[in-house]
């Protein structure tokens, strides 16, 4: 995204009224699979578009990391939704959600191997051929590493981005979760990622459970994640950052407080 959008939020039907009421909002993200490509748009979403808010479709079911080619129908749907929303960008995950015909119902991490890079790049190219706007790829949070990793996370991502020409959708909560669960320094990864390729950033909440940090999207954004936002913006401020909340929605004031905290951490103006 060439333009600067500041702080946004993931649009969900459950909080549509809240999102609609954000006076300074300039961008939002919607789960691509929840939008009908040709039917009527959910009212709240239409209101945002009418107001000139940029809405980015965020795919969750493409399974770019699968060994098999991405399903054509799913790619077509993503393309149609992007057109429908007049989006400057689409995004998906570097993950697989199905294999051998079995749906995991979950974003699963890839082994960081050259073979996996090949598979992802091939699938990203298929999507790029069908979707008229650029795609941003989001690395996921993983609770474990595969034993046969050949590349570091930064190498793995950079390789995929370099070869596919895709942009990066960086989830700072994932960066934090991975580093914390591996006992590494989250800022270290930031130093090794091509930050100029970041299209936008996810900021989400999580919680610790039995010694592991879970990227739940249903808890408040913890301070260390906000600190990481600041650390990221000090290195290279991305054009847009957004709060990703998927459930257990708090009172409006608390949600607005989270958006304000992201604005403060990134130095962008508050949208509330």
């Amino acid at each position: 995204m060439a333009e600067t959008y500041g702080v946004g939020i993931g649009w969900r039907p459950e909080i549509a009224g809240f999102v609609e009421g954000l006076p300074g909002l300039r961008f939002a993200e919607v789960v691509a699979e929840s939008v009908h490509a040709h039917g009527e748009l959910p009212t709240g979403l239409q209101v945002l578009l009418d107001r000139g808010v940029t809405v980015i479709p965020h795919g969750v079911r493409l399974s770019l990391g699968g060994a098999e080619p991405v399903e054509e129908a799913r790619v077509e749907h993503l393309a149609a939704v992007a057109e429908r929303l007049n989006a400057p960008l689409v995004s998906e995950h570097i993950a697989f959600v199905r294999a051998g015909g079995i749906e995991a119902g979950h974003l699963l991490p890839l082994p960081r191997t050259r073979e996996a890079v090949d598979a992802v790049v091939a699938n990203v190219r298929r999507v790029q051929a069908a979707v008229p706007v650029p795609i941003a790829l989001e690395p996921i949070a993983a609770l474990f590493d595969w034993p046969d990793d050949e590349l570091t996370e930064a190498q793995f991502l950079t390789e995929i981005l370099d070869r596919s020409g895709a942009q990066l959708l960086l989830d700072v909560a994932n960066v934090y979760a991975n580093a914390r669960n591996r006992g590494t320094d989250p800022a270290d990864l930031l130093d090794h990622l091509p930050l100029d390729r970041v299209a936008y950033v996810h900021v989400a909440g999580g919680a610790e459970h039995q010694g592991l940090y879970h990227d739940t999207h249903t808890d408040a954004v913890p301070q260390p994640v906000l600190d990481l936002v600041t650390a990221l913006c000090e290195r290279h401020r991305p054009p847009a950052l957004m709060l990703e909340r998927d459930g257990d929605y708090p009172p409006a004031a608390a949600l607005a407080g989270e958006l304000d905290a992201i604005a403060r951490a990134s130095g962008y103006p508050a949208v509330t």
């Binding site: 969900r12 909080i15 979950h106 974003l107 592991l212 998927d246």
Partner: protein, 299 residues
Amino acid sequence: MNDTWGISGPTFLTYFIGAMIAIAIIAAVHRKALFRGNRSSRVDNLGPQQVAYLNGGDRLAIYSSMGGLRAAGALGTGPGRTLVRTGPLPAGVTPLDSAIYNAAGNGVRTRDLHSDQWVASAVEQLRDTLERNGLAVSAGKMREARLWVLGGVALVVIGIARTLAGLGNNRPVGFIILATIAAFILTLTMLRTRRWATDAAHKGMRELRSQHTYLSPANSPAYATYGATGAAMGVALFGGAALYSMDPAFAAEAEVQRIAATGGSVGSSGGGDSGSSSCSSGSSCSSGSSCGGGGGCGG
């Protein structure tokens, strides 16, 4: 063979059907005049309970207040499907809220709330204000509108009498039976029509509903985010189904009736069962959410 009552079948049928159409038209015109209301009155500055009254009468006003109190953590259910207090009465509540909160202190059941003295007087107060402003149809006007039911009843009685007389006279009665059934349906329709909002209020209500689509149970709205007022407004506009969407256990325990919003039939899609049942499939967590649940879902 003599005509029954000295009137031929076709002539009688013509008069009978003519009278039926006349009653239907005059009743409709009369209603239109009675239910017109005050066009200069607005609904957009009304509170949720007032909107609820216009949408579904006393019962929905009570449900709306219960929704607000529940969202504020003040109301719960106890043994024997009674209402209980679960927290302090929030600040800035309406007289109806106070009355229901008070009733909950006495362990009243939802279905008995309307006969609680305080609750009844709070609802009456609410109704009076709305009627004075030309937004609610008063009981008097409703009675006046229903006077035409008498005309319908008279037709049905005449129709039955004619049928019996015709049978006694060995005349064909097929058409008069059909006409009598039609008169019966007309009468029943006039009798059963119950509305609370005047035509003036109706238009505004439609707008309110479309402005608040996000509160429709079909969106499984996050009532925690929208707060007590949002919860009360959700129930007011989308009926008891909204209470089920917000807090199914409470709504079921409190024996809330799902189909409560009837007043503004146009566009009240979430009013019935469909609204609340769709929340299992419509929720972004089951299908659309990028959060896979469980552990490190990423995304």
